[in-house]
Amino acid sequence: MATYDLNEELKRREAALAAKKAEEGQESGEKEVALDDVSRVKVLSPGRQVFKRFIRNRLAVFGSILLISMFVFSFLGPLFYPYGQKQIFYTYDKQNVNYALAKQNTAFNGYDIADEVTAERPVVNSMNSNIKKMIAEGLDTLLVLGENGGYRIRRYGEDVYILSSGEAVPVCSTGSGTVVVGTYSQITKSIEYQAAAVEGLDEAAQENISGKSGSFTYNGVEYSFTRGAAKSYEITSELSGVSYTGKVMDKGFEQVLEDAVGNSASFEYDGADYLINRQGQRYDVYEIIADKDEKIYTCYTLDTRESGQKVSNEFRVAALLASGEDGKFSYEGKNYTIAGEEGVLEIYDADGSAYAEFTPFAVRRYTGEDTMEYNLKKAISAKIEEMQENGVKSGILVHELPQQNEDGSYTRNEDGSLVYNETEMKITQRDTGEYVINCDQINYIIDMFSSPSSKHILGTDGDGFDVMARIMYGGRISLMVGFVVVFLELFIGVIMGGLAGFYGGWVDMLIMRLVDIFYCLPSMPIMIILGAMMDAMRMDTYIRLMIMMAALGIMGWAGVARLVRGQILSLREQEFMVAAEATGIRVKDRIFRHLVPNVMPQLIVTATMGMGGVILTESTLSFLGLGVKHPLATWGTIINSVSSASAMAHYAHIWIPVGLLICVTVIAFNFVGDGLRDAYDPKSKG
């Protein structure tokens, strides 16, 4: 179709007129001015007319400027801003750390003496409690009965104990209760004795045993029997006096045993150790022959004078063993001496200078490493002793510590030795009894919640992200979400509304009921449910974003469809549509080339206003943590990251600018939308 441009036409007419006049000659100087002369009438195209009306509206212009600057800020800003949205910033900062831990060592550590330790695990595991029991009861030796043998723990020196292993030989049983005599087999007609054999009992059993169970008396002792498997009977007897298992001991033994039973768990007789094991009312007595030294136990920890020296367990064993003797020992070809001094065991090397010491007081770095220097350890233990004397639970110690650089490493002199400076350390006793030493150390940490500075214009947030960068990238996503969602709404809405309005009848009926349904769907709850769902599925944050946009679009098309349908219903009856039909234009073209462009003004207004609404919804969802997720920034998530009560109170410089940005963007969209509506149709309701 040829376009008819009034301006061009007028210009052409004017040119023709001028040419005609020039032909006629310039006899008259006066210009004839016609009513439709260009100099009198200026005809604007509809687009320019709308534009002119739009820029006359101050609020709308203001809104447009805001929007343009917002777009420049979020889409071009990041190109010039040095930081990314997921860039985490670190800093070196003084932190009050738990530097060391000091405690009175009460746990006994065992070191292997024997090359191959054969002691059973249950015995080894209960060593600590056994030693504590010995200390509490003031015992020098303690006998322990294991599954496979007997053990002896003996005190070797102050807080030094040795565990030795050997055999446990059953000697006898006493007290009251039943003793298993043996098993009688009806096939061999004999008794397999477990206790000491009784002469003539075999015959007695053969005579008396029959049936399931019963009892008989032999030699004044009552025996009872019960049938076990395969024609065998278990014969038991009630205890009376001392029943020997093996060799019978003399009267003196029984006398000692009688005294010991019930009073102590072990006794000594004739140079041998005996252990009484109580089984209910019965006491079983074992002879413990333990002569193999297995492990040596001590609650001392070894501190070398030079810090950080590794000392092998063999050295410890040699030193501890020597401490109970003359104190001289050699290890790996070097001679040492060990001597007890004021509650510690001091080890001297061959030159007579102090090499290391066993001390009951362990001072270690909080991580458990033994890297602290000897004099620091001494100073801390001295301070703690002083605190204990004064009965206070905390104290301050000023001592030299290796000096740290700004970047956390240690400062060194030219010759490589550490530089020290005085540091204040706070020593506090915990309720569990150990002492914690706190002091300031320089650590490499995430730069959290730093205040606005030249490096970070708006500071950093709780994850060490630069807030300004987050706001820029957040604006990108928020604006993009607005555009995509509105585009989707328009796309579905125009197609559905166009079809419904154009065809009418059952198509209209069907589509409008669908519109009713979607109108009625509560969108916010559904978005929240979707968000929770995607949370549960641990969906990737970008996919979440897509799904959220799609859902918002699907939820919002009903309004657009209704609007388009209403417009089309009224346009359909107008003459130009009748003409379009008469000229035989295709249905598709009639809808999308003639009807829809006429709905465009309303659509543009709805879209502009809708964009603000979508940004609000998106930010609300993201604020609730159900929209766009953490590492990705949107304006909602930025506010969400400081929404806890304390963060909100302290970091207002983060959330207030972002909230205002959301607000300003939505206002700008609304202003522009309002302005557009007024410009398109000045008579419409505002």
Partner: protein, 329 residues
């Protein structure tokens, strides 16, 4: 009239049927929902005799989730129609009981805000229209625009920051102060009322802008009508023109919209209640939604869908009642 109402109600029921179906499909497909969590918990108990899969099948059967979407929906619908909404999974009490516990708080919050909204927005809108292009007009327009454009959470956060953190007048969230149990009956009432102040202000700010604009636009339209010009021409005092002729006609659209929003007072303010921890139905449903509590969510969404449809119906009916020119057909 009666025929129209009946037809509308039938339509609404049809719409409701499909709306609930869509929601049910959504809920049905919710992964890691309550049942899965429960099954995992039961299967990992010491001495559990069934595996996770067995428990899952068992629980699904118990909760009627094993029938497929359509049958499951019909089952739900059948029991819902006879008033059996089931027990809430998140609140472990019958859904209707939880509803009863919470809805009144929401209603009070909504109602108080509604009253204030009307008291503030309508006079302001009318004043703005009366003096078009005056300072008052621009001020009202800008304020209403700002109110419309503010996200709820931002308003709530600002209010909390100013009145709770900086001034310390109100608690940050919750419905009771820490001395609640020590107070007398009247003191308790005042305490709860105090906790409702910030949420109500939030709701008022959100909704005031729209109503203000709506009032202004309609008043302007009425003021431009011929009968107002006539009234002025014949010398009716300006006060009477505004209050008698213009305002009454402005009331027509106002009454219809406000009447239509009456059912919405029961639906609770989802975001505001959540942000301020007001135990209203909005907060309850938010908690349920995040925990996939299907019975309660189905009930709540059915409830608000009904309210929406009811609101539309009331609004249309009021239109005919208030404006004698309108005939329903």
């Amino acid at each position: 009239m009666l025929k129209y109402v009946l037809k509308r109600i039938l339509y609404s029921i049809l719409i409701l049927f499909f709306v609930m179906f869509i929601i049910y499909v959504l809920m049905y497909n919710m992964p890691m929902g309550y049942i899965e969590t429960k099954a995992r918990e039961l299967a990992s108990r010491p001495g559990a005799t069934k595996s996770y899969a067995e428990w899952l099948a068992d629980l699904n059967a118990q909760y009627g989730m094993d029938k497929g979407v359509v049958l499951g929906y019909l089952t739900w619908l059948k029991s819902a129609l006879v008033g059996n909404w089931g027990d809430s999974w998140a609140w472990t009490i019958p859904v209707t009981e939880e509803f009863h516990n919470t809805v009144w708080f929401s209603f009070i919050l909504g109602f108080v805000s509604f009253i204030f909204e009307i008291i503030i927005a309508i006079p302001l809108g009318i004043t703005a229209a009366k003096k078009q292009y005056s300072f008052t007009d621009y001020f009202t327009t800008v304020v209403s625009m700002v109110c419309i454009s503010m996200p709820t959470f931002f308003i709530a956060t600002i209010l909390k920051y100013v009145f709770s953190v900086k001034l310390g007048w109100f608690d940050l969230s919750g419905m009771q102060g820490r001395d609640y149990m020590k107070l007398s009956e009247f003191g308790k009432f005042l305490d709860v009322a105090k906790h409702f102040v910030l949420p109500s202000i939030t709701i008022i700010i959100i909704s005031i802008g729209g109503l203000m604009r709506y009032t202004r636009t309609n008043m302007l339209e009425v003021l431009n009508a011929d009968y107002i010009r006539t009234a002025r021409a014949k010398g009716v005092p300006e006060k009477k023109v505004i209050n008698y002729h213009a305002f009454r006609n402005t009331l027509i659209p106002l009454v219809t919209t406000l009447g239509g929003s009456l059912p919405g007072l029961f639906s609770g303010a989802l975001i505001t209640e959540t942000l301020f921890s007001i135990r209203g139905i909005g907060y309850a449903s938010y908690t349920s939604m995040t925990q996939a509590d299907i019975p309660f969510i189905m009930f709540y969404l059915a409830f608000i869908s009904i309210l929406t449809l009811l609101g539309n119906l009331i609004s249309d009916l009021l239109y005919a009642v208030v404006d004698p020119r309108v005939r329903l057909s």
